[in-house]
């Protein structure tokens, strides 16, 4: 996968998709260019012929008015769907100022880098006491957090915790029951919905491709819906980014689940979003494809794209995310993975000796900073301490002084999974509603 994306290149944004009509170079009127324009022309011609024949046969001068009306409507339609093929005039306005670290496009060579301020710029997402209810059932409640621009933000939780509903709410698909949010600097309201959707992209868990259409045709639809300029180039780059360029003309019904997932990811990159919502992006992918998606997300982060990632794979969140939030209808914890571990778990030292200690309680109690100890099933001593680095040297000396043959003294690391399992104790989805 082309995770090592090349730098942005400038593209003339005045070039648009192919016009349906073009103005005639000589004479008056418009010439149909595409098959759509020929259909419109044929329909208009049929109506004109009918009306003219009626005017002639039935001697009905009023039909001439119909002919004139059809011709006027055709001209207006052709003018609206036409564009001069002359090249655009060079811009005389100065380019915008660019900060030293501009955000680069998610897929390169289509957009100029946008000016980016430093860390004090507005967050990409700011959520305040957001709540969504469906009748009596609460999907999520009183959720507050913010996501900095360019951050990879993980959103974890069990099935039914409200993760997808939160994404749909922030993506303007659902109306919140209470609370407020700003997305890409715009208040989350129905009036701003279209603008917000233009600047974000959501990849749902199931990509929802049109199975009768090819990969390219699916992307052409979404390029059209986002009014992407230079759609063909953009589609090529998006397919390159997910390593699907060779399958561009394959019908989606013939693709495996994993390949459809990749096409969904390519589709999400088309509009070069400011925020990319990824709902289980590696679901159904093999390890190699999963690693490629991870590399792509890392590449997006380096280009300043904000990624909002919901996932069940805790190792994925730990590897990729700057911060994670754990949701179980309400927000349980929020912070960097190491912060969450430190908050939830005390430090631990593990001591391995060649033989069990004669008086372990006496030995450990004499060392300052040891809160408690226990012997696990494998014969290791697990000590809860205030500060592992500070306690380890005196502990080792105490063990040697007690005549122990010390084999190892090391600090244990709790994983994000430990944090998650500590916080999430119930099966939300199976709960009686």
């Amino acid at each position: 996968m082309n995770a090592g994306l090349s730098g942005a290149t400038v593209v003339d944004e005045s070039m648009s998709r192919r016009p349906w009509f073009v103005r005639r170079a000589i004479g008056f009127g418009w010439r149909p260019v595409t098959w759509q324009a020929w259909v419109i022309t044929a329909v208009a011609a049929v109506i004109v012929v009918f009306a003219a024949a009626t005017a002639r046969i039935a001697k009905a001068p009023a039909m001439i008015a119909v002919v004139a009306a059809v011709l006027a409507l055709y001209s207006i339609t052709a003018a609206a769907l036409s564009r001069s093929v002359a090249p655009a005039e060079p811009s005389l306005t100065p380019p915008p100022p660019v900060d030293p670290v501009p955000r680069q496009p998610a897929v390169p060579s289509v957009r100029r880098p946008e000016p980016v301020s430093d860390a004090t710029r507005a967050p990409a997402l700011a959520v305040e006491h957001l709540t969504k209810r469906f009748g009596q059932r609460v999907a999520f409640e009183d959720v507050s957090f913010s996501v900095a621009a360019g951050e990879v933000f993980g959103f974890l939780g069990p099935n039914g915790a409200g993760k997808t509903t939160t994404v749909r709410t922030l993506g303007t698909l659902l109306t919140p029951s209470a609370g407020t949010a700003t997305v890409v600097g715009l208040e989350l309201t129905e009036r701003n919905g279209q603008e917000i959707r233009q600047r974000i992209s959501i990849m749902p868990e199931s990509p929802g491709l049109y199975l009768r259409l090819s990969v390219r045709e699916n992307l052409e639809l979404f390029a059209g819906l986002f009014n992407v300029t230079n759609a063909r180039t953009r589609i090529g780059e998006a397919l390159d980014a997910v390593n699907m360029a060779a399958r561009a003309d394959d019908i989606c019904a013939n693709l495996s689940k994993g390949l459809r997932q990749r096409v969904g990811l390519a589709r999400a990159l088309l509009n070069d979003p400011d925020i990319l919502f990824l709902d289980e992006p590696t679901s159904g992918l093999d390890p190699v494809a999963t690693r490629e998606v991870h590399d792509l997300i890392v590449g997006l982060r380096s280009r300043g794209v904000t990624v909002f990632l919901t996932t069940h794979r805790l190792e994925e969140a730990e590897r990729l995310c700057d911060r994670v939030a754990i949701l179980n209808t309400t927000l349980r914890m929020l912070g960097r993975p190491d912060e969450l571990r430190a908050q939830l778990f005390s430090r631990s030292l593990v001591v391995i000796t060649a033989a069990p200690l004669a008086e372990p309680g006496h030995t450990f109690d004499e060392v300052g900073g040891v809160q408690s100890w226990q012997l696990d099933d494998t014969g290791r001593y697990v000590l809860t301490v205030d500060d592992a680095k500070a306690v380890a040297p005196p502990l080792t000396r105490a063990l040697v002084a007690a005549g122990a043959d010390v084999q190892a003294v090391y600090e244990t690391q709790h994983t994000l999974e430990d944090v998650y399992m500590e916080l999430i104790s119930d099966d939300v989805e199976a709960r009686v509603r």
């Binding site: 009918f50 024949a53 009748g135 698909l173 959501i202 045709e217 390029a223 986002f226």
Partner: protein, 242 residues
């Protein structure tokens, strides 16, 4: 954000591609209208007294107007609820496309083949009549008002049927229910045909102008009304909006 013809075009283009690759839909577009012209054609080629020929022709041509009403019902019924069942609606709703743009694109995709097939069948019938029917029937068919009525009412009735079908599709929970209920759109047209066939309503230029004007206004207003029926939240979650 402003209304975008580009987005409408993208939806239209996609719908057309899907129709071309769906044999069921292609069959519906081609075969169903043929069923509606069998009776009118057989009537037109029967020998009839001159006094009855005009009535016979009028009824037959009116029946042909039912084809552009019935045919788009299948396409329109699938438009929204079908995409929801297929799982393709949510990704589309995450784009900037507005309800009006999405529905207009789908309506146009159903409208164009319906009108083209309707006009095509009418052309075939009138040419066939010209070649092989009685002179009284030919004279009765080849009248300017008949041509004008077909030219005017086929698209208006097709649009009516499409908007009714899409409206049902936005609220139905199942494609089959939506498509069957969509055929209800043909009831007003059938009712009018029946009233004219039984001489309750006398076809005239005045009546045609009134009906065409009413239909045109309804068709334009229907676009806005159906867009209001389009409830994003309900379509995505299957729940009624609070």
């Amino acid at each position: 954000m402003s209304f975008s013809l580009g987005r409408v075009g993208a939806v239209f283009h996609k719908e057309f591609r899907e129709f071309r690759r769906n044999r069921f839909i292609l069959g519906t577009i081609v075969v169903l209208p043929l069923l509606f012209i069998i009776v009118p054609i057989s009537d037109l080629f029967r020998h009839a007294a001159p006094a009855l020929a005009r009535v016979q022709v009028g009824t037959s041509l009116l029946l042909m107007l039912v084809a552009p009403v019935i045919m788009p019902a299948t396409l329109a019924g699938y438009a929204v609820v079908g995409e929801r069942e297929q799982g393709t609606l949510e990704p589309v709703l995450t784009t900037p496309v507005s309800r009006q743009e999405l529905l207009l694109g789908k309506a146009l995709a159903a409208f164009v083949p319906s009108v083209v097939v309707g006009y095509g069948l009418f052309t075939v019938v009138v040419i066939a009549v010209r070649i092989g029917a009685d002179s009284t029937v030919v004279d009765a068919v080849w009248q300017a008002p008949n041509f004008l009525a077909q030219a005017l009412f086929a698209p208006l009735l097709a649009a009516w049927s499409i908007w009714v079908g899409i409206a049902i599709s936005t609220r139905a929970s199942d494609v089959r229910v939506a498509q069957q209920l969509g055929t209800l759109a043909s009831i007003p047209a059938l009712g009018l045909v029946a009233l004219m066939s039984f001489q309750v309503l006398q076809p005239s230029i005045t009546l045609a102008i009134i009906l065409a004007s009413v239909l045109a206004v309804v068709d334009i207003a229907a676009w806005r009304i159906v867009a209001r029926l389009f409830d994003r939240e309900r379509l995505i979650t299957g729940r009624q909006m609070r």
